[in-house]
């Protein structure tokens, strides 16, 4: 127990001498928790200013997390859309419309090419679709803007749609341009309620068709609501639902042929075969064939490349805002060092070394950026979540982006804190003490 009397008693000099070199032992560091406590005091002493200092870092970190979440969300949506089309697919489409659609000597992708693709070994299903939007009438119920999907009989297996009731249309229906339709579960319920729709007749646009099947519920995949669609033979779409002048133009051109490949087959070989057979049927060489054939991974990659450019731009924006945040910290720390010159002098007069002072201000800068980083992470995660919930854009929070943002914030603190901390450490005790 130290008492007031002990304090007022000067040490006997021999005792001080016995301490010998220990008196000069200034190389030891004061404990880290001491430095932390001193720096923390500096941070909380002026809360508003600290908050303003951190603002740049907060915005930078939040921006990094939100932007990465947006681009990750976009990529996830793309992947889901492509994968939602079915498994093991290749996409065959016109590279470009040579000589305009339906142009005389052009080589176009047409519905009949489906048969060529289907004849390739390893192709287990082919699918073509042509979607149009029309009103639908059943008895007294009318639904407007219903997606009418003209497609081919392999649709249920390729798109993984189950038929709950009745049947899907077959090759014969297709060949005969049969006026038949299969309803998505939601449309069926909307039109018929609990009644059985099979063999009922509905009006699609002005064409009367007979319902032959109802699909099981599938929900939305990749932004497409399967339950809200009506499926009809694609020949029926060409024949009835595409406006006549437009139909003449388009002919039986198709946008894309989907081919489902046997799981065990080699993708590249099958693709080469498809190219070869298509070229042969068109009377051109494989090199001249104006079609691109891509796997799902190819498509995801191609579309991803577009978002990658976007992502790089965002990374730059975020990086610049972190940099600005760092400069903000440096500015405020420089002002703070000047303002607290006397404090520095007082600390030096009672035994703080320049290392102590440097560490104090460096720690303060790092603390500011870490606390700023933490607030930024919370704001970023919250912001990404709210953004995803309230807008059309999807956001996926990437855990590594949190580490990245937080790590950069810390690095910014060390980097931009160094100069002010050094300035503080180099102050002369006398001049610092005299500073008002």
């Amino acid at each position: 127990m130290t008492t007031a009397t002990d304090i007022l008693t000067a040490p006997s000099l021999p005792a001080a001498e016995a301490a010998g070199q220990a008196i000069l032992d200034a190389d030891g560091m004061i404990p880290a928790r001491e430095i932390l406590a001193i720096a923390w005091e500096g941070v909380v002493r002026n809360k508003i200013r600290s908050l303003l200092t951190m603002l740049g870092i907060i915005i930078g970190v939040a921006a990094v997390i939100i932007m990465i979440a947006i681009s990750a969300g976009t990529e996830a949506t793309i992947a889901e859309q492509i994968e939602g089309l079915g498994a093991n697919l290749v996409f065959i489409q016109s590279s470009f419309m040579r000589g305009g659609p339906g142009g005389g000597n052009s080589v176009n992708l047409v519905y009949d090419d489906t048969a060529v693709v289907a004849s390739v070994g390893g192709v287990v299903g082919t699918l073509v679709d042509q979607t149009t939007s029309l009103s639908v009438e059943a008895g007294s119920t009318t639904l407007t803007d219903i997606q009418i999907v003209g497609t081919t009989p392999d649709f249920p297996s390729v798109r993984e749609v189950t038929i709950a009731d009745g049947r899907f249309f077959n090759e014969k229906d297709l060949a005969q341009t049969a006026k038949v339709a299969v309803l998505g579960a939601g449309v069926a319920a909307d039109l018929f309620g609990d009644a059985d729709p099979i063999s009922q007749q509905i009006l699609i646009g002005t064409t009367k068709v007979t319902i032959i099947g109802v699909a099981a519920e599938k929900g939305a995949v990749g932004g497409v609501d399967f339950d809200a669609q009506i499926y009809v033979p694609i020949t029926l779409v060409f024949d009835k639902f595409i406006p006549s002048q437009f139909a003449r133009f388009v002919g039986n051109n198709v946008r894309m042929i989907y081919a489902q490949i046997d799981e065990d087959a080699d993708m590249d070989t099958v693709i080469q075969q498809i190219e070869y057979k298509l070229a042969k049927s068109k009377g051109v060489t494989v090199e001249e064939l104006p079609f691109t054939i891509q796997t799902q991974d190819d498509v995801i990659e191609t579309r991803g490349a577009a978002t990658e450019a976007f992502r790089n731009l965002l990374a730059w924006v975020a990086g610049v805002s972190l940099l600005v945040g760092g400069i903000g910290i440096m500015n405020i720390m420089l002002v703070s060092v000047t303002e607290r010159t006397q404090e520095i002098g007082i600390r030096q007069s009672v035994g703080a070394t320049s290392t102590d002072i440097r560490l104090q201000f460096l720690t303060e800068a790092v603390m500011l950026s870490l606390v700023g980083g933490l607030i930024g992470v919370i704001a970023g995660v919250g912001g990404a979540y709210i953004f995803g919930a309230t807008s059309d854009m999807r956001t996926v929070i990437v855990p590594s982006s949190i580490l990245l943002a937080f790590g950069s914030a810390a690095a910014v603190g060390v980097f931009f804190g160094f100069f002010p901390a050094n300035k503080a450490a180099q102050l002369d005790p006398i001049e610092a003490l005299r500073h008002e």
Partner: protein, 236 residues
């Protein structure tokens, strides 16, 4: 108690360069101060009193000359070593108190203990205890958690004195400790210093007030950076 020399200087000189003009703030000062002495330093403004105090207190270095503090030559020590000497052997009391304005009284008093390192560095609990004991010694234990701006000048100076003695220094340096205080409060501070002196403390104090200087055993007079009177009746 055997007489031990605490301060011994030889030809202490401090030159400030201001452009082409050189100011000799100290000009060959030789001083001896023994342990247990209470010495007043007087002299006109600009005569070099503060400059001397800063060098004797290891806050500054002489341009020339030697300085032995408690037998140790401090002239050639590094900045770090000087910081350690200030921390362990010297307690400062300034005219303008020099307290951390946003830190409580006890926090200010603890400061030298925070920067004490190596052997004898007190753990936090002991630090607080010693700081409280120092505050009690200056009669301010009940104000431990007050901020400096909640205290009077005299109270602030007492906090500063508590801070100066918390590390049991061999030397207390006080540069016009009563300069910012009224006469009554000044006498209270002097009473504390006397108290410290009577228990064996060595104190060097700058003052402009003859009656304050008269309370000490010995008065050194500075004129133009030179020792005009070393207080032993011998003029240099």
């Amino acid at each position: 108690m055997a007489n031990t020399t605490i301060i011994q200087t030889e030809g202490l000189t401090k030159v400030y360069g201001m452009g082409d003009i050189l100011v000799k703030a100290l000009d060959g000062v030789d001083i001896h101060i023994e342990q247990g002495e209470f010495v007043a330093v007087m002299g006109p403004s600009g005569s070099g009193k503060s400059t001397l105090m800063n060098i004797l207190g290891c806050l500054d270095r002489p341009t020339e000359g030697r300085y032995l503090l408690a037998g140790q030559d401090v002239s050639g020590l590094s900045n770090k070593q000087l910081a350690a000497i200030r921390n362990r052997q010297i307690g400062f009391v300034f005219q303008s108190f020099n307290l951390l304005s946003r830190t409580s009284a006890v926090g200010n008093v603890m400061l030298p203990l925070v920067y004490k390192r190596g052997a004898g560095a007190p753990p936090p609990a002991e630090r607080h205890e010693r700081a409280m004991a120092a505050l009690e010694a200056v009669g301010l234990a009940d104000r431990a958690n007050h901020m400096p701006n909640e205290m009077s000048g005299g109270q602030r100076q007492r906090v500063a004195i508590a801070r100066a003695l918390v590390n049991n220094p061999v030397l207390i340096m006080a540069d016009e400790p009563t300069g910012n205080l009224d006469t009554h409060t000044g006498h209270e501070i002097m009473k504390l210093l006397h108290d410290l002196h009577s228990r064996g403390g060595t104190i060097v104090m700058v003052t402009h007030e003859p009656d304050i200087a008269a309370q000490t055993q010995r008065t050194i007079t500075m004129v133009d950076g030179k020792l005009a009177d070393d207080g032993h009746g011998r003029r240099q």
